[in-house]
């Protein structure tokens, strides 16, 4: 086993070596521009891009023509939301989204709201982080033109009832955008069955290269139109200009193919490792709380709050394991995770949260090591914690008058 261990697979994933192998010829040898229609270099590039488009579309049960390449999920979210708003502004300006969306969605709608271009409803989530489809239905007005709800949350892994939301959107004739960045490649996604009209996802969360993503844009029932946000050569059916990064796209395609072929195997492995990690930690450490849905979440996700210890110090104590925390100290804003707060997790426990993100390349040995380290460091830091001492003495921490600063 090699240190450090990478258990932060929600932030990014290592590239699968098989993906790299597929990409290599497209840097030096087959370097053509896929938009060059008049020579063999261009044709080779175009062929490779179209092959990748097929692989990607197959994974999400779409038509290859419905895939628009972007630089990543952030751009896809921006393009979907701004593109729909601009294209359908005569119909209305109301957008429905949820309070636990990724910043790429939340900041996009907030920016539109701030400029007076959109009216936004932020739906609450239940204590597991799930959007209630009935809340979506109730929020719909005559002016609603877009519903944007994520497939799976990046912090807690909770999977939303996307199919039910898609059904409501269809029924009401409203477009449905889904940020599926964390879900595609990890859980089965079927844009037909789920009633999704636009879907954002990215290559580097599924063992592909960074710098390429896609926006699925439905072509029929209904035919979705979006206003381009980038002017230029009219690539990607006019929706996203810019020369296609052929090697990245080839890698993205291969990554999707591998995810499709190996999903069942990967999922079984990840769930077994994740459940063992969870059970061992929870058994050894009292007052550890699972954040997110107990069962309906991503196979590789585990998010736990360890009462009385602060997240950043936990990370510091496990510096040979790459993890992430909802603690304020790890963010630039000094506010703890808004996702955990939206679930109703207390601020103290949000500060104490650790996200474990397991992926294809993690091993049982790494999980054993992590279990040992987590138990060690939480125990050590609790010994050091005045809050733990007070709790052990029977002091109700909520009754204490704290000098907030």
């Amino acid at each position: 086993m090699k240190l450090p261990i990478f258990l932060d697979n929600h932030s990014t994933t290592p590239m699968d070596p098989r993906v790299l192998e597929t990409m290599l010829p497209y840097f030096v040898e087959k370097f053509g521009n896929a938009a060059s229609r008049n020579h063999a270099f261009g044709w080779a590039a175009e062929e490779a891009v179209e092959q990748a488009r097929k692989q990607i579309a197959k994974l999400i049960k779409a038509d290859p023509k419905e895939i628009v390449f972007t630089s990543g999920a952030t751009e896809s979210d921006n393009l979907a939301i701004k593109g729909v708003l601009e294209m359908y502004k005569e119909k209305g300006d109301h957008i429905i989204t949820s309070s636990t969306e990724h910043r790429a969605v939340l900041d996009t709608v907030k920016s539109l709201e701030g400029k007076g271009k959109a009216v936004v409803t932020y739906l609450p989530v239940d204590k597991f982080g799930m959007v209630n489809p009935e809340d979506v239905r109730k929020a719909i007005t005559e002016k609603t033109i877009l519903i944007s709800v994520m497939l799976a949350n990046n912090e807690i892994g909770t999977i939303n009832p996307v199919k039910e939301i898609g059904k409501i959107a269809k029924e009401k004739g409203i477009l449905f955008h889904c940020d599926a960045t964390q879900g595609v490649g990890k859980i089965p996604v079927d844009v037909q069955d789920m009633g999704i009209d636009l879907m954002s996802f990215t290559s580097h969360k599924m063992y592909g290269p960074k710098g390429v993503g896609a926006l699925y844009v439905r072509k029929k029932n209904p035919r979705v139109r979006i206003a381009a946000q980038m002017d230029g050569g009219g690539h990607e059916r006019g929706m996203r200009s810019g020369t296609l990064p052929v090697p990245l796209i080839v890698g993205f395609g291969k990554a999707c193919e591998l995810c499709e072929q190996e999903m069942a195997k990967d999922t079984a492995r990840l769930i077994a490792m994740r459940d063992r990690l969870e059970a061992s930690i929870m058994k050894a450490l009292e007052e550890s709380y699972l954040n997110g849905h107990p069962t309906n979440r991503l196979p590789g996700n585990l998010n736990i709050s360890f009462a009385y210890v602060e997240g950043e110090s936990l990370l510091m104590g496990m510096k040979d394991i790459a993890l992430s925390s909802g603690s304020a100290c790890t963010s630039a804003t000094l506010e703890p995770s808004y996702v955990l707060r939206a679930l109703g997790v207390g601020t103290e426990l949000a500060h104490s949260s650790i996200r474990f993100g397991l992926g294809r390349f993690n091993t049982d040995d790494e999980i054993d090591y992590t279990i040992k380290k987590v138990i060690e460091i939480v125990t050590k830091l609790r010994e050091m914690s005045p809050l733990y001492e007070m709790a052990k003495e029977g002091v109700d921490l909520k009754s204490v008058q704290w000098a907030a600063h």
């Binding site: 009385y308 210890v309 602060e310 950043e312 110090s313 510091m316 104590g317 603690s327 304020a328 100290c329 630039a332 000094l334 703890p336 207390g346 601020t347 103290e348 500060h351 010994e383 050091m384 914690s385 005045p386 809050l387 733990y388 001492e389 921490l397 704290w402 000098a403 907030a404 600063h405």
Partner: protein, 132 residues
């Protein structure tokens, strides 16, 4: 964010971690911060003849908060009450090489020192009044 070697050292080998009994003679206790803010420091001093003979801390917070309070206990030992009053958060920032986002940890440590000294003073004054 990378931590300075000194922060890492205090975090891995905290000095004077622990507690005195609050009602013990000569002990002053300062507790500052709030769990919602992500840091709480408890700093205690034991005073004999106007000199701090021992100090202990317990901290809930990030590595820099733990290091700041650990360092504070080191500095407090052997100082007189007056000397202890003069410890400034900027001294801690400098010693631990804290980045701007972690300055509040040093402020909290200074507050904890002041609170412990005040608590000691209050108890000492009380004892004096009782004696009279």
């Amino acid at each position: 964010m990378a931590y300075s070697d000194k922060v890492v050292d205090h975090f891995n080998n905290p000095r004077n971690m622990g507690s005195f009994k609050k009602d013990e003679e000569g002990v002053g206790t300062g507790m500052v911060g709030a769990p919602e803010c992500g840091d709480v420091m408890k700093l205690q001093i034991k005073v004999e003849n106007d000199t701090i003979v021992d100090a202990k801390f317990k901290t809930f917070g990030c590595g820099s908060a733990i290091a700041s309070s650990s360092l504070a206990t080191e500095w407090l030992k052997g100082k007189t009450i007056d000397e202890a009053q003069k410890i400034k958060n900027t001294d801690i920032v400098q010693e631990l090489n804290l980045p701007p986002v972690k300055i509040h940890c040093s402020v909290l440590a200074e507050d904890a020192i002041k609170a412990a000294l005040a608590d000691y003073q209050k108890k000492a004054d009380g004892a004096l009044i009782d004696a009279k």
